[in-house]
């Protein structure tokens, strides 16, 4: 725990509010009167996913939380949890609802090193590497000609059956680079 002055809080900071960890999504700073200021925070509860808004005087003292982070790899899915394992083979279960953003890319054969965030020993979230590589299980063939990548088509990823847009030149069995933050196709792996 650390003391955090409300006026210094930034997006991405984690605060302890009502005894629960909240990650700040958006911060608004406004001058009120007599050189004072008001800070409005939009934050996501890391335990429940609930979004809430709070308001503070800029010089209010808040409780900052430093979260533990650990490198892990994906192990398997056992409804309703995804299981990750660290280097010492400790297993961590994370509810699938928490991972809905990255679930389309969680494949049992993936070897990506993921960053798992913990609060008081409980795993809260998982960040994939920025660029991940996945295999295309199915996509329609298109007439040859376009190699620019500007024309896109639908493709189904292996294991997760996630349907995403890829360049028209991508074929079944190709491995592709995906931006895990935006979920967008980046390139075909040669």
């Amino acid at each position: 725990m650390s003391v955090k002055i409300a006026g210094d809080v930034q997006s991405g900071n984690v605060l302890l509010v009502d005894n629960e960890p909240l990650v700040v999504l958006k911060r608004e700073y406004n001058k009120s009167g007599r050189n004072a200021a008001v800070v409005k925070l939009r934050a996501k509860n890391l335990l429940t996913g609930r979004i809430s808004e709070t308001v503070y005087k800029a010089d209010d003292k808040l409780t900052g939380v430093v979260l533990d982070k650990k490198d892990c790899t994906y192990s398997y899915y056992a409804a309703p949890v995804h299981v990750f394992v660290d280097e010492e083979y400790n297993q961590y279960e994370i509810n699938e609802e928490t991972l809905s953003d990255i679930a389309p890319f969680l494949a049992p054969d993936m070897t990506d090193v993921c960053e798992v965030t913990f609060y008081e020993g409980k795993p809260l979230s998982v960040v994939l590497p920025k660029i991940i590589i996945r295999e295309v299980e199915y996509t329609e063939s298109v007439a040859r000609g376009d190699t620019s990548g500007k024309i896109t088509k639908s493709a189904i990823l292996k294991h997760t059956k996630h349907d995403m847009q890829v360049s028209a030149f991508v074929e079944i069995g190709d491995k592709i680079e995906i931006d895990s933050v935006t979920g967008e196709f980046r390139a075909r792996v040669k």
Partner: protein, 396 residues
């Protein structure tokens, strides 16, 4: 019966205690709530309300229990019933011992931070914002005064507009006689002047001296009177009346709150400042010029512009575009943003468009009335938090 504790620190001038006293009085007299007002500067308070004894640690004035807020704060009796509602005015910091006592109380009190007035749009997004306090485990709520229905509204006593409407020529005559200033005379413009330090004042005094229309200026005590004295080159003390060209200048005594409204009502144009006189000028339905509280990084400029945009753009503005534009030029000049290019002509236009601006003032006050008054909105909010509805007094 659930007590309301209202905390006020007098930081500078009289705005803080002016607002707090109005609110405390209104909660007590109109909503029949037991109110305890903690003030750290009773001497300033006594100037606004002569019934206050500046030396008394505890006293009851107009049904409000007034307590001196000392440092260190008096020990809080752990067995005494704690307040049901606590209001910290203008983000003043409550005593740590008091907060600790609140944290122990059951049920938890409704804790309000009554904020500064601003016309900026962000205020609507922060009004009634929840503010969990890590140290005490209590939750504070931000309550913003404002100009729209999505804010807390402005302080306005239930009978204010009625009293304003009853203020006829005879009442004005009586008020002026009481004040010891000349009665209204045809063809003369009357101006009230209440300001912070303002280098533009002497420019306007020059303009008024050369004005085509005779002007009578009632100057409130403080920096304004001192600056008029410097401009005159002679002492300008309470009760003084000096004529220079077309302008006659009258140094007023410090008026208690109850006498400030009639002053605004009896003038054709009011120069006001900060928050309390600014709000009263709007309810006075007369043309006015506002000096925003000067802030670092020119934050007041944003606030001034935000208010002007609302005031000049609301219903009816299309009918008086030139008059309103003249008002904008004067406001910007008065706040040091941009000198009026032709101040003499601008003043002439302002005088000429007085009727149109007075109409604007009436329309604006009617519009503000729709947002409800702040004390009423506050009581309603508290009631919604846990059934702490006001209880009428026996026979009251």
């Amino acid at each position: 019966m659930s007590r309301w504790d209202l905390f006020c620190r007098v930081v500078d001038n009289y705005g803080d205690i002016g607002v707090c006293w109005r609110l405390a009085r209104q909660l007590a007299s109109e909503h029949h709530l037991p109110v305890r007002l903690w003030v750290d500067d009773l001497a300033s308070f006594a100037r606004l309300c002569p019934a206050v004894d500046p030396l008394a640690p505890v006293q009851v004035v107009e049904s409000v229990e007034v307590c001196r807020w000392t440092d260190p704060f008096p020990a809080v009796d752990p067995h005494a019933e704690s307040a049901a509602v606590v209001i910290e005015a203008f983000a003043c910091e409550l005593p740590a011992t008091y907060i600790a006592a609140l944290a122990r109380s059951t049920p938890r009190p409704v804790w309000i931070n009554l904020e500064y007035l601003s016309a900026e749009e962000w205020v609507e997004g922060c009004h009634l914002g929840r503010s969990p306090q890590p140290d005490s485990g209590l939750v504070k709520t931000f309550f913003f005064p404002g100009f729209t229905t999505r804010t807390g509204g402005l302080l306005k006593e239930r009978d204010l507009l009625e009293r304003r409407a009853r203020f006829n020529d005879r009442a004005e005559e009586a008020f002026r006689s009481r004040l010891g200033v000349p009665l209204r005379a045809d063809g003369r413009i009357t101006v009230s002047l209440f300001c912070y330090e303002n280098p533009r004042l002497r420019h306007w005094l020059d303009v008024w001296r050369e004005s085509a229309t005779p002007i009578q200026v009632f100057v409130s005590p403080g920096w304004g009177q001192a600056e008029v004295g410097r401009w005159l080159g002679e002492p300008f003390l309470e009760g003084t009346c000096v004529q220079r060209g077309q302008v006659s200048l009258h140094a007023l005594p410090f008026l208690p709150q109850s006498e400030y409204d009639p002053l605004l009502w009896s003038c054709d144009l009011n120069f006001v400042r900060g928050e309390d006189s600014f709000v009263r000028a709007q309810w006075a339905e007369r043309p006015f010029v506002w000096q925003a509280y000067p802030q670092a990084d020119a934050a007041h400029v944003v606030k001034l512009q935000a208010f002007l945009d609302r005031y000049l753009a609301s219903d009816g503005a299309k009918e008086q575009p030139e008059a309103l534009e003249t008002l904008r030029v004067v406001w910007r000049d008065w706040n040091g943003l941009e000198p009026a290019p032709r101040p003499g002509a601008t003043w002439g236009e302002l005088v000429h468009s007085h009727r149109e601006l007075a109409k604007r003032g009436k329309e604006w006050a009617a519009r503000l009335d729709q947002a409800g008054d702040l004390a009423n909105n506050l009581v309603r909010f508290v009631g919604e938090q846990g059934g702490l509805f006001p209880q009428p007094r026996q026979g009251g």
